[in-house]
Symmetry: C2
Subunit: 597 residues, 2 copies
């Protein structure tokens, strides 16, 4: 079946004079998750994992995916003739390198320019330019061959009232237009969905786990054009649009519109967050100013309303996780629980919370050595059964009308050996040490990262990821520009930590084949004392879930570490006990009782 599909694709490629065709896994906005409509790569390869790019030549087909999916991809690709390229393994070329080696002068590379970011497209251009290779990006050639392709998702948008958004669209527009002006741009093309939702105070439901609507916007000094599917526009939204002078256009006409617009000045666009097809139009028709979307930094600083709603939502979400841990500890070994059914139990607890919209990402439930894989995904056929031993790592979150949550706890289900206890304790110490940071305004995540990492570095262990990422408000669970990490990609912008930024704090230990530990709270930056030395900053905590004392070894802690843990646990109990049953409360009382120094 896959071979038939590939044959049809190759025939089409021949017609169009295309030598290699690339199918990434992306919507037109670079979203973290994609709807079924965008699963063209799955249709042509049979591989169902969430990350992968298919490259089809006339004599080859290859699928690039990451370590999470090597085994699954091997199984799913069997018999298809598609070669598996294991990303990041030694000797395995990345796609630009592969194309550079396998394409010949005068040949043509094809892809749907809407599913490739401007940045990636330009990198390919750069690589292939000198080889005289043409790029054909104007058509969704593969997608057109997909019989019974699902429709584009087109759920109705909702308008956030100001008691939820905390700031009117008018005020937000004013701030964005000031930034446009400062950049010397007359226009601004925004296609990053969460930024767009933030700006317009609307939410959608077109991307799993991200409450966003497929849309584009184009700002001029006076006008705001919104490109959205007509089915998504409700009566409420039409009225809102009228009141806010939003000019509604059809989603499918964005390219035509930008192509035909009469530009009288520069256009601001964000290289990493606009697709290659739109970039080509804009750079052809107008002078471009390449900058981060001005919405990004504005969105990252949460306003008072957002923060107070998040505080409330995080307590409810924390209570759900507490209920889950209590349930798991009581039932493990007594009934059959797998990684997947445990996740389902937790997801169910979240669904009961008032204002629940969706999960903020698929729950990661990883038992024992599976937890050593940072992005482990339990699959129905291989999910591990959870027994009364070892540890379960659960990383999860929800979307609520009032905030987006993200929390990780690693739960001891039996006796934990001293080595693992030590690792667990160091992770907790680092997490609390970063939480307690007092720092001068002007610090970026690079300055602070070592506070979380140092207890692990001290024992010769590192975690191969950042310590923290920004978190949206009823939006994406990963957002920028802030980030806590010790290294940044070359040329990457580092954001100063501003009051009102919400950030995850998630050090961990990942020992391949043995165990994985991650303890993640979400914290929010606040202004502290201001004196002659400057403006001091500190973090408040939003997450209140006990850190498993059964995996703590106080001999690996300084008195201040124990104090911090005890103080945190005291708050966990005080803040969440009212949301629990008597039985859960009793359990929590014990789980948060102070450790002795």
């Amino acid at each position: 079946m896959i071979q038939d599909r590939l044959t049809r694709l190759r025939d089409r490629m021949s017609e169009k004079g295309i030598d290699f065709y690339m199918i990434p896994t992306s919507d037109f906005h670079g979203s973290e998750y994609v709807d079924d409509y965008f699963k063209v790569r799955e249709y042509f390869s049979g591989f169902t994992g969430s990350n992968g790019t298919l490259v089809v030549g006339h004599n080859m087909a290859g699928l690039w995916t990451d370590g999470r999916y090597f085994i699954q991809a091997e199984n799913e690709l069997e018999g298809s003739g598609i070669e598996l390229f294991r990303m990041m393994e030694e000797g395995v070329p990345d796609i630009p390198d592969f194309l550079g080696e396998n394409m010949k002068s005068g040949q043509t590379l094809g892809f749907d320019g809407r599913t490739v970011s401007c940045k990636e497209g330009k990198e390919l251009e750069q690589k292939l330019k000198s080889m005289d290779i043409r790029i054909f990006y104007e058509e969704d050639m593969a997608g057109d061959l997909w019989k019974e392709r699902p429709l584009l998702p087109n759920h109705q948008v909702i308008v956030l009232p100001e008691e939820i958004s905390g700031q009117s669209m008018e005020e937000k527009l004013l701030a964005v237009r000031e930034k446009m002006k400062a950049s010397g741009a007359l226009y601004f093309t925004l296609s990053k969905l969460d930024d767009l939702m933030w700006l317009m105070n609307i939410r959608g439901n077109d991307v799993a786990c991200n409450p966003v609507a497929l849309s584009y916007s184009f700002l001029t000094p006076e006008e705001l054009y919104l490109f959205i599917q007509p089915q998504e526009v409700t009566k409420e939204f039409t009225e809102y649009a009228l009141k806010n002078h939003i000019i509604i256009k059809d989603y499918k006409n964005i390219a035509e519109f930008l192509n035909g617009y009469d530009y009288k000045g520069k256009v601001l666009l964000d290289k990493g967050n606009i697709n290659y097809a739109l970039y080509k139009i804009l750079s052809d028709k107008a002078e471009c100013v390449f900058e981060s979307n001005p919405t990004e930094a504005l969105k990252a600083v949460k306003n008072k309303t957002e923060l107070s709603r998040m505080e409330e939502v995080y307590l409810k979400d924390s209570a759900a996780v507490i209920k889950f841990i209590c349930w798991l500890k009581k039932n493990v070994g007594k009934e059959k629980i797998t990684e997947l059914t445990a996740a389902e139990h937790l997801d169910g607890l979240r669904r009961e919370i008032q204002g629940f919209l969706d999960l903020s990402f698929p729950t990661i439930s990883a038992y024992k050595e599976n937890a050593a894989m940072m992005h482990y995904e339990a699959l129905p056929e291989s999910a591990k059964e959870i027994k009364a031993e070892g540890m379960l790592l659960v990383d999860s979150g929800g979307q609520y009308m009032g905030g987006t949550t993200d929390v990780t706890r690693t739960i001891a289900l039996g006796e934990i050996n001293p080595e693992i206890k030590k690792h667990f304790t160091k992770v907790a110490v680092g997490m609390l040490q970063l939480t307690q940071a007092r720092f001068l305004y002007g610090c970026t995540g690079r300055n602070l990262d070592i506070l979380a990492r140092q207890p692990l570095w001290d024992i010769g262990i590192d975690y191969k990821c950042g310590t923290g990422h920004g978190i949206g408000y009823i939006l994406n669970v990963h957002e920028g520009p802030q980030s806590i990490r010790w290294r940044f990609a070359k040329g990457a912008a580092e954001a100063i930590i501003e009051e009102g930024m919400v950030i995850s704090n998630e050090p961990g230990v990942y020992i391949e084949g043995s165990h994985g530990i991650r303890t993640e709270n979400v914290i929010v930056a606040k202004k502290g004392e201001k004196n002659a030395d400057g403006q001091f900053m500190f973090f408040d905590t939003l997450t209140f879930v006990p850190i498993d004392k059964e995996a703590i070894d106080t001999t690996c802690m300084q008195p201040i570490d124990v104090e911090r843990l005890n103080r945190y646990h005291e708050q966990v109990y005080l803040r969440t006990e009212g949301l629990l049953t008597a039985q859960e409360r009793e359990w929590l009382k014990e789980a948060t009782s102070p450790l002795r120094i």
Copy 2:
């Protein structure tokens, strides 16, 4: 007298058609200290401080200097008609701004282009270009008017034997030429004196506290030209030059040489470390590659010989400081000691050390509130008398045939109040915390700075400077490229901390009008464990001088902080006791005895 001199200068300016003339305090190499020959600004202003720039117009004369010298400058400028510009005070323009406001289109600004760095010169160019102002930089117009000007310093150079340098000039040249090649440069003009001394394995004595010879060098793929005053060339050096194919030229002919050279490729030069006059020649005659001097990073990584000699020298230097502290504690209140005589006593102890060449910078000896000024300079007329109360901050170092040292201790001379004790303790905790850092290779000083600063930030205090700077080997006490600080100037390069880099570690507290504390050790980066997570790094300590327990409050410390201090003190005693008298040893025994947790 000053007015006569200024009149002569103005006459000369009129002859040459110059409207404003600027006289900075610099030699031709941007050295940190300057010889008497270069004190043209002092000659024309009467101001004797170490930092200041004179600007003379036909109707005004102004002197810019920093906070250390405001009072002194006021006194010394009295009656001269020269206006004092207090740098960094609110409402006081800097020189480019002042010139921008006071010069008119078509006018000419003059200065000796050799005493202004390329970077500063280009900034002035940038500022004045649009105003159609000419810059005349080709003559030392003011210096020529100085009657009885001292001669250029011209001390004989010495050649370091390989048992001192640890690496032959040939090997160093090879490494530098590789870097030139990598930068696409055929030539390299090096005028930073310490880099030049390092490259050639020679030392001079033309700059106070810096054992360097006034010189330039010009490298081609095959040749090395050295421009140096003939008086500095010894028979030993002539032989060494012959053996190493060094082409010796006269120092005064560098401009002529670079002007007449037949360039067949690009020239590498370091914008921040070449003077404006040479830059103008090079950019006129050849294509320039602007990069840090390739010698800088090579010089910063000390080789085994250098490190083992430094270890030895640091012990002797530490012993001198221990002797000093012991002497001070025993004699304070019994005989008259001032900030200056205390410094002289310490300097005398250093002079007795075998291999002593010079101080590495003028000893800072600051009593009580004077210590709150980071760069305080005790002057004969105003040096404070030291009594048996308060604290004395002493920051000092030596140049030895075997290393350059730098150490600061703040010494309690009586009962210390709890607030100051707390500050002192937090400084010590931060210094030891940074010393104990284990970190992955790839970290820069920005990642680590918070380890020293956090105990102070925790109590709402900051010090307005970096935590650490690189230290030369029988060279400048301040060198790059490494640096430990939490912020870098925009666009400043951050150096990864490499094995063999020697760095100061000097957190402090500076409370204006009250007290100042600085505790400074010198540490050296080493490779530690290498495992699947990467190459871990750590620091070894070179400085072994007790940290005053009389100013320590263990209630502000965690047990690990006390342990670290005790372990350090144990090493101080073990390593230095053999270098002390019986009486000093007895004192040190007590000064390093363990504190109880």
